[in-house]
Amino acid sequence: MISIDELFNTFETGNGFWNPVLWLIAFVIIFLIIYIIRGFGNNSYKKGTGQTQVFLSGNPESDFESMHVKSSNLYWGWTESLKWIIDALKSMHNGNLSDYVLWFVIVMGALFLFVGLI
């Protein structure tokens, strides 16, 4: 049977330690402090008035559905800057079964070289 002490043991990682329960308690305390600070904020918010309307530098607001950023457009800058490596990887993943086996042969060949059999 597992004892309570055993359950809440601090996990030693070799060079450090990690106790998620303590971390969680700290997290809850921080959340409560933030919540209390929030209570001191301005409470003049009125739903449905001009306060809550979107202001897009004077431009009309688009249809909600078309405002959703699609998956393909996310991380555009990142994928564009790494285009060279992504293109190389894409050409590797060509869906051709013969190439899948070729990679297996290549790895096996590399291992033979590594062990010094060739």
Partner: protein, 525 residues
């Protein structure tokens, strides 16, 4: 001997026999009605899970169990040539636990997920066969038996991947899987033949005791590692994996994670046990090969995941990246263990690295499994898998969204989820080997977070789309299945020390002390 003792004495065999018999009974039970069949399958996997837990208790209490089919251990000690036996150490039972959790949860999930599908009798039969194959792979102590169980798993998996036979891409993925699996399995058979030809044995312990690292032994080792790594989805031999995971029904993708990990287990068993006595002989440690493959797997997996727009393919590439962490940790451990100049006693981080890796096996299975189930739930509700066509589903599918967030945090290694504890061990220990490796691992994890945030934004956030006005939350069985995995993730995350001390450490000790696996040869049990 009373009945319970009798059953317990045959428990290792029952772990495979129960799902195997269940598989053959399933078509008959299906004749009664679907509900009875579903309860039967869940029951069979539930009973198997209970036996796994009982055997686990026994292994952790008393050490390695050797079960000989149709004979006694003494007979085999005198003549080890050919005899089917299961040798269950802490690593085997750890892997069995992973497999059975996934299969059991998949059976619950399938109830709702497949309620409108035809061919369920075949589906459940194959699911049980696949489970029997996976359990056999991780429990057997015989190499030829290992090959047979690989074949059982592969054939059942391929048929399940191609379950939606009306979809060309599913059939293509099934074909690719069986082709790659057959190539891998045939090479494994060839490697087994090389060892059998030299040592006249198929038993892993007997072979481990005999291997002298001859020229043929080296060839067999390379073939084993390459073929099992291909079946384990290690880059650059991973290309079948996104096809298979992406096209299979979601609960099958979940079980496939277990099947893939059973192959990874094969790599570790070969390196640490079969070649455990001679693994320090190569001038450059095989650990470095695992580290290198692990790094490439992480980087390629995460970059490819970043550019995917299909929900399940994206998760599949994420799963590839996660496999890299497993290889990285064990590779770090092996690099030290196989180096007699350093030695494990002067480099305790090697053991920590392996603990991280082995813990990551179960974490990866749970995290990736949960995400696949969420992808399946979204497909079930919307019939859509393209991330570009999804959006705003958090408004209609609140529970599914919560499960996704749990999966996202866990797979990205965000505290206090389970992935954090295992990745922390891997980061710390690989840093000791080489800080650059650790930095790459951390960067990959950050990128994984970005990848899954992309899914979260694309699928669950944003305005409600008109076409999804009628979308409702998925059936209860699917929510229960996701809930079970999410609960285990949170439990493992909150109490990592408990899991590492009781499950992971014994598994790591089983790996780094191959002599325990060989004990029964000399009557040491």
């Amino acid at each position: 001997m009373n009945f319970i003792d009798l059953i317990m004495s045959h428990a290792p065999a029952l772990l495979v026999v129960i799902p195997l018999l269940g598989a053959f009974l399933t078509p008959l039970i299906s004749k009664i009605n679907d509900k009875v069949r579903n309860i039967f399958v869940i029951g069979i996997l539930g009973v198997t899970a209970v036996f796994v837990l009982l055997v686990a208790q026994q292994v952790l209490d008393t050490g390695t169990i050797t079960y000989v089919f149709g004979s006694s251990l003494q007979t085999v000690q005198n003549n080890t040539v050919i005899r089917i036996l299961f040798e269950i150490d802490a690593l085997s039972i750890f892997m069995a636990l992973v497999s059975i959790i996934l299969a059991f949860v998949a059976s619950i999930y399938s109830w709702g997920f497949l309620e409108k599908e035809t061919g369920q009798d075949k589906y459940y039969t194959l699911l049980l066969l696949m489970t029997a194959g996976m359990l056999g792979m991780v429990l057997t102590g015989d190499l030829f038996n290992f090959f047979v169980f690989i074949e059982i798993t592969s054939i059942a998996s391929a048929a399940l991947i191609a379950f939606w036979t009306n979809k060309a891409k599913a059939v293509e993925a099934g074909f690719k899987y069986i082709f790659i699996s057959t190539i891998g399995a045939l090479f494994i058979l060839f490697a087994i033949a090389l060892l059998y030809g030299q040592y006249n044995a198929l038993n892993i312990a007997k072979l481990a005791d005999s291997i002298t690292f001859t020229y043929l032994d080296k060839i067999a080792l390379i073939i084993f590692i390459s073929a099992l790594a291909m079946k384990g989805g290690i880059v650059p031999m991973h290309m079948w994996l996104p096809d298979a995971y992406g096209r299979a029904p979601a609960p099958i993708s979940l079980v496939l994670v277990g099947a893939t990990q059973a192959s990874i287990y094969g790599v570790f068993r070969v390196l640490f046990t079969l070649y455990g006595n001679v693994i320090h002989l190569p001038k450059i440690s095989f650990g470095w090969i695992l580290v290198l493959l692990g790094l490439i797997t992480m980087i390629v997996g995460v970059i490819m995941a970043m550019i995917q727009t299909d929900f399940k393919r994206l998760i599949a590439y994420g799963a590839v990246a996660e496999l890299g962490y497993i290889f990285l940790g064990v590779g770090t451990g092996l690099t030290i263990i196989a180096n007699p100049d350093i030695g494990i006693s002067s480099a305790p981080f090697a053991v920590e690295a392996m603990k991280g890796s082995i813990f990551h096996i179960i974490n990866d299975a749970l995290d990736v499994g949960l995400l696949f189930m969420v992808a399946g739930a979204v497909y079930y509700a919307t019939k859509e898998t393209s991330l570009n066509n999804l959006g705003g589903l958090a408004r209609n599918m609140k529970y599914t969204t919560i499960f996704f967030i749990i999966g996202l945090l866990a797979i990205s290694g965000i505290p206090p989820m389970n992935g954090f504890a295992s990745k922390l061990l891997i980061y710390e220990s690989t840093y000791q080997l080489n800080p650059i490796i650790s930095i790459i691992a951390i960067l990959s994890s950050i990128m994984l977070l970005a990848v899954f945030v992309k899914i979260f934004q694309s699928v669950f956030l944003g305005p409600k789309l008109k076409k999804f006005d009628d979308v409702k939350e998925v059936p209860k069985s699917m929510l229960i299945a996701m809930g079970i995995i999410a609960s285990i993730i949170i439990f493992f995350g909150l109490f990592p020390d408990l899991i590492i001390t009781n499950l992971v450490e014994p598994a790591v000790n089983a790996l780094i002390h191959p002599e325990n696996y060989l004990q029964w040869l000399t009557g040491g049990l």
